[in-house]
């Protein structure tokens, strides 16, 4: 049955690649923002850090890209497929149930990784970012590993949001969370009120981990951020599970 997992992943990838609303928004937005803030305006250094803006924002827009790719694929994808009956057709078939989620996770992470790769290329060729190879790899690896809690967040949204309102719901969570966590403009520049909110957002812990790879003086320790992301993953998975069991008893006809 490994063939079913492979086919599910292959066609999930093709499906998303051809879905312009997904592929364009997840790829174009992080790249565009990085060009504006990291390249066009990012000539200066971050105050208090011996680091160019172009390098700093590589970590935070990398996180922004990973979150976008995962939260849309799961939040909108699951809400639509669940709410409009497609998931029922799959559940009635002998598809291994885990294949559906594994394929979505792999594809969302792959899209995120592609965008991170493009961001890295922009930073290296146009932003003058120079790092040892090991640091590039470690940053890329940290960003890709960070997909996990946001797949879970997307799953939780997808389990509750209606098929029509899901894109708006995802945006209402994704965009403000990204801003408040310091993904668009550095955390240090945020007003003090927002700085208080940031630790309650998974995106904040994610970006702090990515920044630590660049030796930026970050808030808290690596262990604390990893623990926080682990806790968020469990909470989101629990919420998704609740939504799923509620759904099974709700539908009738």
């Amino acid at each position: 049955m490994t063939r079913a997992y492979w086919m599910e992943t292959k066609f999930e990838f093709l499906k998303h690649l051809r879905m312009k609303s997904y592929s364009l928004s997840t790829i174009a937005f992080p790249l565009m923002f990085y060009c504006f803030f990291g390249l066009a305006m990012g000539r200066g250094n971050i105050p208090g850090a011996p680091l160019a803006m172009a390098q700093y924002l590589l970590a935070t827009y990398g996180a922004f890209a990973i979150i976008g790719a995962t939260i849309y694929a799961f939040g909108v994808g699951v809400a639509v497929e669940r709410g409009l009956g497609w998931l029922q057709v799959k559940r009635a078939s002998p598809m291994p149930p885990a294949a559906y989620f594994a394929a979505k996770g792999a594809v969302a992470t792959a899209f995120g990784a592609i965008v991170v790769g493009l961001l890295f290329a922009l930073g290296a060729f146009f932003g003058g970012v120079v790092m040892p190879a090991s640091q590039w790899v470690l940053l890329g690896g940290t960003l890709i590993a960070g997909a996990v809690p946001f797949c879970a967040l997307g799953l939780a949204i997808g389990a509750f949001a209606g098929p029509n309102s899901a894109p708006a719901t995802v945006n209402m969570i994704y965009l403000p969370m990204s801003f408040c966590a310091g993904l668009w403009i550095p955390y240090e520049f945020l007003p003090s009120g927002l700085k208080q909110v940031a630790p309650f957002l998974p995106a904040y812990h994610f970006s702090q981990l990515a920044l630590a790879v660049l030796h930026v003086p970050v808030q808290g320790t690596t262990i604390q951020h990893v623990a926080a992301l682990f806790a968020f993953t469990l909470i989101f998975a629990g919420v998704a599970w609740l939504g799923n069991s509620r759904e099974r008893e709700k539908m009738y006809g």
Binding site: R18, P94, G253
Partner: protein
């Protein structure tokens, strides 16, 4: 031994009783039509038989196995009412994917031919007409070479030609030895296809028999009259 069986099955959703004690058996090689108005419990009965909803009480089996078991899933196919199918996959890709769930699926070309999709296998699902979309769902139901098909209102929204074409595909599935449970609220559909009709209303089977037997009930001149008189009788009893 029946290929699918509901024994005294009830299903409640909170205060709503969707099924109030249903007994239904489908024998091998038989096409049974579950006929009833909207909201009668047809789809709920199918959902219970597919393991998508747990019955509140009663027994359900598919080939003597629990309906949500892998063994049951391998031997049945289902065409369900679905509002949106992923549109950016091609016809052939949808079929390849579902075929990969089964250890011994039909060859892709045979599934395409049986569902009348030869020639449009490279179209994206989103580019298809309503009748073609329904044929793809039919293809997904038969691609695993099942012995039993569940068809939940398969011809709703189709034009006459597309409807007749799907009927003939259903008939050839039965001719090859398959069994079918078909739900419909079209009387002519039940009349044209079924060996046996079970009329369902308000969560109960209120009449059962061959199309001729159902038509003979009351002083009716046709199936539609018979249906309306059965509905009327049973609703009076319920009140």
């Amino acid at each position: 031994m029946p290929v699918a069986q509901l024994q005294n099955v009830t299903k409640s959703y909170g205060p709503i009783q969707a099924l109030r004690g249903i007994d239904l058996a489908i024998e091998a090689g038989e096409l049974v039509a579950l006929l009833g108005p909207n909201g009668a419990g047809k789809t709920t009965a199918v959902r219970v038989l597919l393991g998508l909803a747990m019955p509140t009480s009663g027994q359900t089996t598919i080939f003597n196995k629990p309906p949500s078991s892998y063994e049951a899933k391998l031997q049945r196919g289902a065409l369900l009412q679905v509002a949106k199918v992923p549109e950016t996959l091609r016809v052939r890709e949808h079929i390849e994917l579902f075929s990969s769930y089964y250890p011994n699926p039909l060859p892709i070309a045979e599934t395409l031919a049986s569902a009348g999709l030869t020639g449009i296998e490279n179209r994206l699902f989103g580019e298809l007409s309503g009748g073609q979309k329904q044929r793809v769902l039919f293809a997904l139901a038969i691609c695993g070479n099942p012995r039993l098909l569940f068809l939940d209102e398969p011809t709703v929204g189709l034009d006459v030609e597309a409807r007749r074409a799907l009927w003939s595909r259903i008939r050839s599935f039965v001719a090859r030895g398959g069994s079918v449970l078909l739900t419909t609220h079209y009387l002519d559909e039940a009349d044209a296809l079924a060996n046996r009709i079970a009329v369902i209303n308000q969560g109960r089977i209120v009449a059962e028999g061959t199309p001729a037997e159902i038509k003979a009930r009351g002083a009716a001149t046709g199936l539609e009259d018979a249906f309306l008189s059965i509905m009327k009788e049973t609703e009076e009893v319920a009140q």
